[in-house]
Every structure is written in C-alpha cells, then in structure tokens.
Amino acid sequence: MLLNLPILPAPLTVGQTFVQELVRGKLLEHLLASLWRVAASTVLAVLTAAPAGLLLGQSARLNRIFSPLIYLLYPVPKVVLVPIVLLFFGIGDFPKIIIIFLVLFFQILVLVRDQAAAIRPELIQSVRSLGAGRRGLFRFVYLPASLPAILTALRQSVGTAVAVLYVAELFATQRGLGYYIYLNGSTLFNYPAMYAGIVALSLMGLGLYFGVDWLERRLCPWQTAH
C-alpha cells in the first residue's frame, strides 16, 4: 500500500518523467542555471582561496594572525548565512554564487595552506640553490604543489556545495534545480517531476565528481602514475 502512494512513484515513471521534462519541459534550463552557479562560485573560490592559502602557508606569521579567524568561520554551516547574504546582495544569481563560494573558499584555503606549509624545506633549499628567488619558488614549487590540494578541496566540497545550492535556490529565484524540486514537490504535488529534479541534482553531483577526477588526471598525472 505504501508503495502505491503518489509520493513514491515507480522508478520507471520517474525515468520517463525525467526524459520528458528534460526534452520537452524546462528541466534542462533549471539544471543549467544550477550548474552555472556552481561553476561560477568554483572559479571565484579557486581564484581567491588558492592565493590566500599559498600566502598563509608560506608565512608562519600571517598564518598565526589569521588562523584564529579562519577556524572561527570554517565550522559555521554556510547555509545559516543564506538570509544575510540575500539581504545584502538581493535577488538574482550573485547571492547564490556567494553562498556556494563561501563553502568552497574555506575548504580550499585550509587545504592549500596546509599543503604549502608541508612542502619540505629540503625541496625549497634545493630549488633556491638552482637560482630561484621568491617568484621562481612560487612558479616552480608553490603553484604546482597547490593544484592537488585545490582538487581535493573541490572533491570534498561537491556534496556540501550541492546541498547548499538547493537551499539557496529556495529563495528569491524561479530558476535552478532547488526551485524546481521544491515547486513540484510542495506546490504542484507533481511527485514524478520532483524525483526527476532530484535525479538531475544527483547526476549534476556525479558529473562534478567526474569533472574533478578528469582535471586531476590532466593536471596532476604524477598522483595517479604509480
């Protein structure tokens, strides 16, 4: 009896609805809107958190000054900031991007910082003895060393980022998978479409994981070549 409830449609029904919604409906549009938000916040987070992490990892003094602040902010679930961010940045894509950015920023910052701080002094001395100054060390040591940390941070954050994306898309928008799932599940009671949205969300997460793996094989071949 439980299985016949409309809130639990058969997988086949969900599959059919998924294809229909994707081809004829607006699901693809919502998916792309969500994907754009995730991609934009990822680029923004990498471009800001990686240099900041490198700086803190290289300078014990800066790290002493900033790490209390980081550890204070890092554990705060960024979802709680949704109302504040919406208040400050209004409607549109930007506040959603900022929320996901905050999730990714701290994860990347901490991992890149630890990676930069863990570079062996012997390696630094060797490369300095080859003639590298500050710029050379950055280009030939710190930058390539931080790449795996960035990718690890991204992989670890995909789940959280998608969860936060969903919450962020509940507010002040009519585009995105969060909006689509909520609309179909709680307003239109179109459960097969709601599940189709959930499938799209999980496929997007899967795609992001694959994307990170692909980048890792391309950018860090030494990690997989054993």
Partner: protein
C-alpha cells in the same frame, strides 16, 4: 677557492655552531666534512651554498663575499630535492628552466647564460634515458640521486656541494654513485664538498677530510688523505688504516 674568515654562526635558539672558525678549500679539491649528528656539518654546507648568512665573519668564494646562492654552485641534498610532480627529464631541466625564467641577470643565472633546455645528454650520461618520462615516486633512490646530479651538472657548476647524498641508498648503489661522483669530479674539474656521517664514505670521497666535533667548532681538524678519491684506494691497506684512524678520532669526539 673557498675561504671561511673568522666565521661565527649560531642557531636561532642561541646555540653557537661555529665560533671564529677559519677554513679554506683550493679549486678542484675533493673535501669531505665528517662528524656526528648535531655537529653543524649541514649548517656548514648551507652557509657555503649562500642559503644562510653568518652572524660574524665571512664566506669568500673566489675572493668575493658570498651573500646569496651563487649560480656556479650546485647543491645536492640527501632526498626530497626533486619536484614530485615533474618527470625525471623535467626535474633535470629545472635549473635551466629557472635560469630561462629569470634570464641572464647575474643573480639568478650567470650573465653569460644562453637559454637552453636540452638535458638529454646528461640523462644518457647518467643512465637515466629509459626513465626520463617517469616521476620521482616511480624510480629508485639511486635513480633519484642521479636525477639530482644531472639537474645540478646541467648548470655547469664549478663547485658541487652534497649533503649525505648517498646515505639512504643500499651499498652497491652507494658505491656505484661514489665512483660516478669521482669520475664526474675529475671530468668536470669540480671542487667537491661532501658532508657525511659515514667514515667509509669520507675515506672514499675525500682527499681532505674536515672533522667537526661537538659545537662550537673553533679550529678545523683536517685529515689528509692523498690516496683517497682513487679508484683502487678502497682495496688498499691505506684505506683500512685511515678508516681505523677516523673511527678513533670520531670516538674521541663523542
């Protein structure tokens, strides 16, 4: 070629390692710095490389005070000196790439430096050609040290500094690399300074052996070993006598 003039150096925690220490090395000599751990032998090499500055006194190379790493000095450390994300060929070319990156400015690269990245002759010379596309994590310790040697020699140094270069290797690999080092030392007319805690390595590589004791070191204790650095020396009675003598002196220090 190298002159330590009344040099004084202390660790940041205040422990004095060298106090009014004077010492000299002639061009094309092969020196070994021997001593127990904590005697300051690595510190001596770091000072020689220009990676640290003395608190007082001077390090002179070719009569000029050493203020920063010098383009014609090569440094090889025990391990961890290779970029784990770069292949053997890329690691060997790293010094040349850094020079190309800065250009011939006389500081990071010699004034007469011509941008070049061809390290293949060095890879073949050191038997690394078959591994040139592999990463440091995929090759043996001996091959990693060969890569470090190729990288350093590709820069055509006149002074080569090595810190415990072979101590993590097994005996046959170590002996092979010691022979190779001496061969290259002669062929490239290098000045060689090797730091080690191994008495046998000191006897094999050093024409002159500088013994360091418990710090602070004030006057250098030098053991002459004119037969050392000779291919047949390790099989001669002189070698065993020297090893015995060094062992006695080391025991007296500790």
């Amino acid at each position: 070629m190298i002159e330590f003039v009344s040099l004084t150096y202390a660790y940041p925690d205040g422990q004095t390692i060298f106090k009014d220490f004077s010492w000299g090395v002639q061009r094309a000599e092969s020196w070994v710095v021997l001593g127990p751990s904590g005697c300051g032998k690595t510190t001596l090499l770091i000072l020689l490389a220009g990676l640290r500055a003395p608190l007082a006194g001077q390090v002179l190379i070719d009569g000029k005070p050493l203020l920063r790493p010098r383009p014609h000095t090569g440094l090889i450390l025990q391990d961890y000196g290779l970029l784990p994300w770069a292949t053997v060929r890329e690691n060997a070319a790293l010094g040349l790439r850094i020079r190309t990156f800065y250009g011939p400015d006389g500081k990071h690269a010699p004034d007469e430096f011509q941008p070049a990245q061809d390290v293949d002759p060095w890879l073949s010379r050191l038997g690394l050609a078959p591994f040139s596309d592999q990463y440091p994590g995929q090759i043996s310790g001996g091959q990693r040290q060969r890569t470090a040697i190729a990288r350093t020699l590709a820069l055509q140094p006149d002074l080569l500094l090595m810190d415990e270069p072979f101590s993590s290797l097994d005996a046959p690999t170590r002996e092979g690399l010691q022979r190779l080092t001496l061969e290259l030392w002669r062929e490239q007319s290098l000045t060689l300074v090797t730091v080690t805690h191994s008495i046998e390595e000191a006897a094999v590589l050093g024409e002159k052996i500088l013994l360091l004791g418990q710090p602070p070191n004030t006057t250098p204790a030098v053991v002459e070993n004119p037969g050392g650095a000779d291919a047949e020396f390790p099989d001669s009675p002189g070698y065993f006598a020297l090893v015995r003598d060094l062992r006695r002196r080391m025991a007296a220090i500790e």
